[in-house]
């Protein structure tokens, strides 16, 4: 590059000089700026470039006199600002005119270009004109020898403290191939046993890696460098008496298992590189890793893995060899095992790929015979292979359950034993906890007839909401599959439960008693998803009684399983199950459990109380009636607990022979605590006025119920429901609609309902307008990126537990039920919920400031 003629400017440029003192820009004064080559005095040849500012008010006084040296890091910012570091002090010139600034900058820039060309690096020639402004100057590192390690360490430590310095440093290191020059020093220092030098080397290497430069890190894990780099990091001055053995670990052959030879040299190199990157991330740098470096490492690993998997899946020869291993009866067991583990690792990587790429990978695997691998794996005697196979299966189900369902459908058509039966067999005999819970999850997902919909609808719908429509959209294959399941597999799956019939001794093998908990999970899920089929199954096999038997075994965790099942039945609030509970007198033994444990305050007791509190809170009249009529004495014995007193009061009230006042007192009390999602109004702050509309609702609710609900449901006989056995959706909806009819005179479409309610502020439904809690979920979503520890970060892990969580969470379900009541069948709680959301924005904005402030104050954790 030709050196431009320094622009000797004679007319002075008006400028303010600033200096950074204690994080504040201190104004040194205003003056006129000159930038020129000044002849050095005392006979030395040559000139040096200087920037000077002469004070405006007192000519001859210099506000600034600085020599342009190469690592001052001059930068032009905006149009009128030049900043740099002068002997460690941050300086800034603020020009009055952009033109003047540009002229001075031109001079400085040209001088800096000269420095770069002196160093012989024209790395950025191609883009220099635009980028030169932002480009940091190059630097000269001390020679790589033991004697200058001290200098080197100090210099790079200083450099790495500023963004410019880091860039410059990173460039020099790569350009000078500095890492390779440092590596021999490690062995030299080891030879002369100079621990101080080794410590310096370690520090230098740490700084270099934490510069967080992709090229440097890639270079550091290359075949040539990696051992030297981790070698240097073995001597950590933070642990002076320790030496790590990274080289030994990475050097040992045989960590890399090559099931089928990968021919491509470059891919093989990438595989090793990826392993080293992981080792760096997890072991060598784990303690000192900062977030930027962590993400640089992660993205390097990720892109490598993408390349590797892409290469493998398109390599037909490779895939044929790989899956051929399972077809060969003479193949060694060990090699088959390794092949399973290899595929497992592929699938684990695939989870991070984009869905289309993942789809291609699985398709290619399936074409080459993945089913047979899973079948081989699930039945294998080696636990590691079974774990591998379930993992593979789970990752495919996670990706696209429909793909597996269709495969099962084809198996059924072909009269082969379907995959679900294999899974069921495995679940019942498996002792490995991990496999068991994964199999249990797969049995749930595979039998979930819900078509994939918006995520908030999946697994979070409780009770009968929206399920009617879902039933209709089930595909015919799904029907066949479900029919087959309930005809053949269900009995097999729930055999341990069914076998309890007639059993009096409740002793279980410690290893296997966990199966009940899984069966309960699965059954609860089926009950929520399968409607009639599951109801029939529960009734036909008298499962309530079976669970009741568990109450009499001495293991408390099994008793808990039973209580959990009953709770699920109650949560659904479906007449069928309510009647099942009553007819089979299932709650009596639960009361006995409570009476038995009551003086003590343990988990069992809490679970029972939770169940009865739910019945009382939701005011499930059939059950309250059943309880009081059949177990009045037991309940009286427990009446010192609020819940049970309430149950009796509710019963007496509904029968019409109790004093009215206590009932109202209690429900008033409840009102203040029964609005769980409104942080401002609910809870202990009863000095707040009770919402008048809400109040009205509570005062008027009984009348309505007398008209709309009491008559068909708790009246003399529930004739409407007996007329339509098993068809609970319609009957459920009927009930709701007749309630609606009373309130809004005509049951209409959801939107109609909503608008009507807006016009008629006195109808109970309109309480939603004034007392709607802020929609916290949406609020959460909005913030999710900011929060390090926020729960929402886990959204992608959520699926596996979501069903369990929703079934377990008493509060959420109770809330949902309450909404359902308030909003008339929950139909105007539309997926996009216009009403609540609008309100949430206005409420939340005021709270947000506080939240943001708090977030800034404390590191969340």
């Amino acid at each position: 590059m030709a050196q431009p003629e320094p622009d000797r400017t004679t007319d002075k440029k008006r400028v303010k000089v600033y200096e950074l003192r204690n994080n504040d820009w201190f104004d040194r004064g205003t003056g006129f700026c000159t930038a020129e080559f000044v002849t050095i005095e005392e006979g030395q040849s040559g000139q040096e470039p200087r920037v000077t500012v002469e004070a405006e008010d007192s000519p001859g006084r210099w506000l600034l006199e600085t020599k342009i040296v190469k690592d001052d890091g001059f930068q032009k910012q905006q149009d009128t600002l030049i900043v740099w570091t002068d002997n460690g002090v941050d300086m800034a010139l603020s020009f009055q005119e952009p033109d003047c600034c540009q002229q001075i900058w031109k001079f400085i820039d040209s001088v800096q270009q000269t420095f770069q060309s002196v160093n012989g690096t024209h790395a950025d020639d191609g883009l220099s004109d635009d980028l030169a402004i932002e480009m940091p100057s190059m630097i000269q590192l001390p020679p790589a020898d033991l004697a200058s390690l001290g200098d080197l360490e100090t210099q790079i430590r200083i450099m790495s403290s500023t963004a410019n310095g880091r860039d410059a440093l990173a460039k020099s290191i790569m350009n000078d191939n500095y890492i390779s020059r440092l590596i021999p020093l490690v062995e030299m220092a080891e030879d002369i046993e100079s621990l101080t030098d080794l410590h310096k080397l370690c520090n230098i290497m740490k700084i270099v890696l934490l510069l967080n430069d992709t090229t440097i890190i890639e270079h550091a894990v290359s075949d040539d460098c990696v051992l030297g780099v981790v070698g240097a990091l073995e001597y950590d001055p933070d642990f002076p008496s320790h030496k790590a053995n990274h080289r030994q670990w990475l050097n040992s052959q045989g960590r890399y298992k090559e099931v089928v030879r990968i021919e491509d040299e470059q891919i093989r190199r990438k595989i090793h590189q990826t392993y080293r990157l992981q080792y760096l991330k997890d072991v060598v740098l784990a303690r000192i890793l900062d977030d930027p470096t962590f993400s640089v490492l992660n993205s390097l690993i990720f892109f490598n893995q993408v390349d590797i998997v892409q290469h493998l899946q398109s390599n037909v020869g490779f895939l044929t060899d790989l899956f051929g291993i399972f077809a060969d009866p003479n193949e060694e067991q060990l090699r088959k095992k390794e092949a399973v583990l290899f595929i497992q690792q592929c699938c684990a990587i695939a989870k991070n790929l984009q869905p289309p790429a993942r789809q291609t990978l699985y398709n290619n695997f399936l074409i080459h015979g993945l089913h047979q691998v899973i079948n081989f794996g699930l039945r294998n005697f080696d636990v590691a292979v079974r774990v591998g196979a379930t993992d593979i299966l789970i990752s495919m189900i996670d990706h696209d359950p429909q793909m597996i369902r269709l495969a099962i459908y084809r198996q059924i058509q072909a009269r082969e034993a379907p995959l679900t039966d294999t899974l069921i067999d495995l679940l019942l005999v498996e002792t490995d906890l991990g496999i068991r819970s994964q199999v249990s999850d797969s049995l749930k997902i595979l039998l979930d007839p819900t078509p994939p919909g918006p995520p908030e609808n999946r697994g979070e719908l409780i009770a009968g909401q929206g399920r009617g429509q879902r039933q209709q959209t089930v595909e015919p294959q799904q029907e066949v599959f479900l029919n087959y399941f309930y005809e053949n597999s269900a009995v097999r799956l729930f055999k341990p439960l069914l076998d309890l019939a007639g059993r009096t001794e409740m002793n279980f093998n410690v290893l296997n008693d966990g199966v009940f908990s899984y069966l309960n999970d699965i059954l609860c899920f089926y009950i929520r998803q399968h409607g009639q089929r599951s109801k029939f199954f529960v009734m036909q096999n008298n499962l309530g009684q079976r669970f009741n038997q568990l109450l009499s075994c001495k293991e408390k965790h099994l008793q808990l399983v039973a209580i959990r099942f009953f709770r699920q039945l109650v949560v659904l609030q479906e007449e069928f199950f309510i009647r099942h509970l009553a007819e089979k007198k299932i709650l009596g033994p639960v009361l006995d459990v409570l009476l038995r444990t009551m003086p003590r305050d343990n988990l069992l007791c809490s679970a029972c109380l939770d169940l009865f509190a739910l019945i009382s809170k939701e005011n499930i009249r059939d059950l309250i009636k059943h309880l009081v009529e059949n177990y009045r004495e037991k309940i009286m014995a427990l009446a010192y607990i609020d819940t049970f007193r309430e149950i009796i009061t509710r019963y007496d009230h509904s029968q019409g022979y109790a004093a009215v006042e206590p009932y109202f007192l209690e429900s008033d009390d409840e009102v203040s605590t029964r609005r769980p999602t409104n942080p401002g109004a609910r809870g202990m702050m009863e000095h707040l006025a009770i919402d008048p509309t809400e109040d009205e609702y509570w005062n008027t609710s009984d009348d309505e119920e007398n008209v709309a609900r009491e008559a068909p449901e708790t009246g003399a006989t529930p004739n409407s429901s007996t007329a339509k056995p098993l068809v609970e959706y319609t009957s459920d909806d009927d009930g709701e609609e007749s309630a609606d009819a009373v309130m809004t005179s005509t049951a209409a479409t959801p939107s109609d309902d909503a608008s009507k309610e807006n016009k008629e502020p006195t109808t109970p439904g309109s309480t939603s307008g004034t007392a709607t809690p802020p929609e916290r979920v949406s609020e959460k979503r909005r913030r999710e990126e900011d929060e390090d520890d926020a729960l929402d970060k886990l959204v992608h892990h959520k699926r596996r537990n979501s069903s369990a969580a929703s079934s377990n969470s008493s509060i959420s379900s109770a809330t949902a039920l309450r909404k359902k009541k308030n909003f008339g069948g929950g139909r105007d709680v539309s997926p996009n919920g216009h009403g609540p959301k609008k309100i949430s924005i206005t409420i939340s904005s005021s709270i947000k400031n506080a939240a943001v402030k708090a977030g800034a104050e404390e590191e969340g954790k």
Binding site: V510, C605, G683, P774, S810, A854, G860
Partner: protein
């Protein structure tokens, strides 16, 4: 039991125990924990600890500073796992000690004792590496579901037990004593009569915030005794009141309060055996944070709530509590009292994540000799629901609130904080994760 002792010895040496033994341990722990209420009753003396986060060597340092296990009663307020590199060893050791000395160890659940959180923040990964499968993680998660949600400490004295390191016995009206790791007193605060307008909660909070900033420079030794209290005890001394009424109890919970829980007894009604839900009372208890606000606020964490001084004071009054001890938030000084000492955050993971530079603390409550403070609190207490306490709750409305805030708060029990730093680097070996052994890809 010798098997268990062997396991304890092995874990103390930071070596994991075999999977079969973990399973057995977890089954024993389950039997034990199932018998505990959602709110465990603990009697003083007890030493209360905050988050541990898998910092095994610092846990050993904690035991060194606070006394070893059968000799000192401990209450750990959750977050045993994640972040640090020895979650497994830390949690299993605590669990072993719990099984071995059930009456002397209390473990309650933190928000990190959950399947979802541990899959993201390290514990899952660690189990996978150390055992080659996630089974141990699953065993541990099963135990998490059984952990209690909170604890009530009864019978804590208003006077400190004598400090063995101190020759001149301190006067009896010391309310707060801060000691260093060697037991030497760094600062003491006398009980004071209530200051009416001396310091608004906000002012106190401001001081504490400044303390956080300053604390990063020099840790606890930089604390200078002054009127405003040491860093971390912004409102120290303000919880005065009549001396000699030990009836107030201390509620320990990982996160904080919930809008759904106005009485401690309501916590007892939860079926806690489940994954920590995303909302609801159980979630809030594990996720909420106190904050300088009025009433309730949305939490930036996305779960739980923020709650202000008014909430704490009303809750404490209604439940006859003198103090709420919680963990969940990093405090640079190891502990931080807020809202006129009605709530304290205790943090027991020094140099959190091996780089935060904070110190840790534990809170000692000593035993009240009179025995007045101990009475059973459970659902079974006749009269608790329809008598005295219920009346108190009802009376809290309207004008009652003002009197709550100004007069009727219980005096805080005498509190001794022991502040300690991270275990010396050299004693612990290099903390690192276990590398993946074999690789195919």
């Amino acid at each position: 039991m010798s098997d268990l002792d062997k396991a304890i010895a092995q874990l103390r040496a930071c070596r994991p125990i075999p999977e079969a033994q973990v399973r057995e341990l977890c089954h024993k722990a389950r039997e034990l924990l199932i018998e505990e209420g959602n709110v465990v009753t603990v009697t003083a003396p007890v030493t209360i600890c905050g988050d541990i986060h898998g910092q095994f060597h610092d846990l050993m340092e904690l035991f060194r500073v606070g006394g070893d296990v059968p000799d000192t009663n401990y209450l750990f307020m959750g977050d045993f796992v994640d972040r640090g590199f020895y979650s497994l060893e830390s949690f299993l050791l605590l669990l072993c000690l719990k099984v071995r000395y059930p009456d002397r160890m209390t473990l309650i659940r933190g928000n990190h004792e959950s399947r979802q959180i541990t899959t993201v923040y390290g514990f899952y990964d660690e189990c996978l590496r150390k055992y080659g499968s996630a089974n141990v993680w699953r065993y541990c998660c099963d135990v998490f579901d059984y952990l209690a949600l909170g604890a009530i400490v009864l019978g804590a004295s208003n006077t400190l037990s004598p400090n063995p390191e101190q020759t001149d016995v301190s006067e009896e009206d010391v309310e707060i004593e801060v000691c260093n790791a060697d037991g030497q007193i760094m600062t003491q605060f006398q009980r004071q009569s209530r200051r009416k307008a001396g310091k608004s909660p906000n002012g106190a909070g401001g001081a504490a915030v400044n303390g956080v900033a300053a604390g990063s420079s020099n840790g606890p030794t930089g604390a200078v005794p002054s009127n405003t209290g040491p860093p971390g005890s912004g409102a120290s001394g303000a919880s005065g009141g009549s001396i000699g009424n030990p009836a107030g109890a201390v509620l320990c919970v990982h996160g904080g309060l919930s809008p759904l829980i106005d009485m401690v007894d309501k916590i007892r009604l939860l079926d806690r055996k489940q994954e920590v839900p995303h909302e609801g009372a159980m979630c809030d208890l594990l996720w909420s944070d106190p904050d300088e606000i009025d009433g309730w606020g949305l939490s930036p964490r996305g779960a739980g709530f923020l709650f202000g001084a008014d909430i704490v004071k009303v809750f404490n009054y209604r439940n006859d509590l003198s103090l709420i001890a919680r963990a969940h938030q990093l405090v640079m000084e190891g502990f931080k009292e807020m809202f006129d000492a009605s709530i304290v955050t205790v943090w027991s993971a020094p140099n959190y994540c091996y780089r935060c530079g904070n110190v840790a603390a534990l809170l000692e409550l000593s035993e009240d000799d009179s025995g007045l403070g101990i009475f059973a609190r459970s659902n079974g207490d006749v009269g608790r629901s329809d008598g005295g306490m219920g009346g108190g709750g009802g009376g809290g409305g309207g004008g009652g609130l003002r009197s709550v805030l100004e007069n009727d708060l219980k005096p805080g029990p005498a509190r001794r904080y022991r502040v300690f730093q991270a275990a010396p680097q050299d004693s612990r070996g290099m903390p690192a994760k276990k590398p993946v052994a074999d690789y195919f890809l």
